[in-house]
Symmetry: none
Subunit: 207 residues, 4 copies
């Protein structure tokens, strides 16, 4: 019988993960020290090491958490779709609001994770799954839409999914470098460009 509840254990784990995310957000993976994380979590090194075997383990867990959050988010988004025509608009608005609120959002961690991707297979796998999830949702949506006649049939769904990701990730980087970037002008231009792929079917309904 465990001395403390599983809930307590989970809470401790999450507490550490949150602390680590805060540190990584501020100083990146390799400039954040375990001491930083311990202090932020208000826990001793010994306690932290009870929940994570190594710093690398924490990095992996953070990237896993990032993947899970991303997948959950995109899943939720897909459900709200009512009309193909407005889906991209909704999607785009939701995502770019994150960038606009850059400093409050852990999106900044993404860039750290991308860099880590080169050195850490598990992190790469996580990030790959994240991208795959996006692709599937975006691609699946486009595919459905094409069947229903909403989109030009000669657009490759997978590539289009990747392009949507690029719209987002690309601006993320630019905003990191220059916070004065006009996010909504950028979004507006995306909408204009992508409007060309829309068609006007006779009986528009959503799956």
């Amino acid at each position: 019988m465990p001395k403390v509840s599983q809930a307590h254990l989970d809470a401790r784990r999450q507490q550490i993960l949150d602390a680590a995310a805060a540190c990584f957000y501020r100083k990146g993976f390799h400039l954040s020290t375990m001491q930083d994380i311990c202090k932020e979590a208000d826990l001793s090194p010994g306690a932290v090491y009870r929940y994570f075997a190594s710093k690398d383990d924490i990095i992996k867990a953070i990237s896993e958490e990032n993947r899970n959050n991303s997948i959950r988010m995109i899943g939720q988004m897909r459900q709200g779709v009512e009309n193909y025509r407005v889906f991209l608009d909704q999607l785009v608005d939701a995502f770019f609001r994150m960038i606009d609120e850059f400093d409050q959002h852990p999106a900044k961690l993404n860039i750290e994770i991308w860099a880590e991707t080169f050195r850490n297979e598990r992190v790469r796998t996580m990030q790959s799954e994240t991208f795959k999830a996006y692709e599937q949702v975006f691609g699946g949506f486009l595919r459905d839409g094409q069947k229903a006649g909403y989109f030009q049939p000669d657009i490759d769904p997978d590539s289009f999914g990747r392009i949507l990701i690029s719209f987002f990730d690309g601006l993320l980087v630019q905003k990191a470098v220059d916070p004065t970037v006009d996010v909504w002008a950028y979004v507006e231009t995306i909408k204009k460009i992508t409007s060309s792929i829309h068609c006007e079917p006779e009986h528009a309904t959503v799956a």
Copy 2:
């Protein structure tokens, strides 16, 4: 009277920078050690420190070199333009060939630089200048084209410039995570999407 020529000094400096780039490419900025760089450059620590005051200095020089290369490249690209219609195609082909040859090209360093951007003001400045240069060239091109009637006049040139950057940087990340990405399908789709912004003027010539 210097013992060796300035050319020799410059070559040594470049030798170190190349070695550093190779290391950074493999292990990132913060996991590459000065010893790694020394070994790669086949030089002693003392020699390296004759040319760079610190590891941070090398990182800065690398990001500066990256900026210079980017600006030079984009400058050259602009000069080859003969027809607005085909410019984007040329541009896109040239840029994405880099991604396709990913492992041989220092483009991968970009992601490291982006991450460093959060911690290092000088690196951020370099990267900011790189983005500005791109924006200017792309935006200037679009502006000229709009005046000449080649592009829809309601497209914001600056945002469009940023979007072109995102097309590239976004795929860079995705390729880093999953090397099997089909670059040319992605490019094809970009071309389809952006074709909608083109118009057909009567007398198409380029400034």
Copy 3:
């Protein structure tokens, strides 16, 4: 809740300080390495750095300890005075016994500290306070004695205090250079010379 008692922490700190003093005594501040100190203290570098932020910090602490010891010693000495006539003798005997037992006594560190004085403001301050303390005690004693009629009234108390210090420090240096110096002959001569400043009051008692 601390893992170990404050007493243990204090003991560790003192252990390091003692080890450092031993090293400095042997090799001076700048030729003693942190490794030397660690080995002498039988502690790892990490442990030492828990207690002192830097080598410089240890040097400062050593000079502070030296000041504290000096001030304590001179304070105790002052209390033992029963008769102006014999005070100098007692004082001189006590101090020069240190020099005579040179190798066992940290007095040798003084010379290191003097040299450090040029480069290290904090060390200079410590040493300055040490000298001030001596001056006050010696000068105060002479002043009292002059009021009571024990000493020639035209002797400047502060200068005389400084001269007493010089008697000591000067021989310290000479003994360092030539350990065969006859300390007690030196002391004897000091007593003869300084005897001239004594007077013979009628009712000799000490405050």
Copy 4:
């Protein structure tokens, strides 16, 4: 046949020694680097190492120079003596003027040399010879004076010589720590104290 004259060689050597003295004066032996000395001497490392085998060699040469200067100085001083009575005054005035002009005078190097004495046998020997020279001159003078009846016969000449050195070296240290020390009040008090050893012979002449 040498390519350059011996005079040129000697001048170069002295140039290096002067540069070293300037550096040592500013930063001490162990914080002055060979590069510092080279820069100060306006010479390359290779050139410096043609004249001195090592940094340690330079330190030794500096301490040797210091000894030579001291011995020369004290020798000259001895010759100027015309009257036992005023000799100490002259001596004291000459020496303490150095301390008063502290910043311009290499006396500060003495403290460095004393510290070095613990680690460097050759330096210790040099310093020992310096002290011996002083002792001989002072002691010899006192001995002569005692024979001629100028000084109390029960004063030990050697110890008195050491005390004179202590007067000087002691104040040197105090001035290093606190530049506001009143040198001449100190000197005045020395004179008062030492006046007690003087006698009044019938026919006062100097050897």
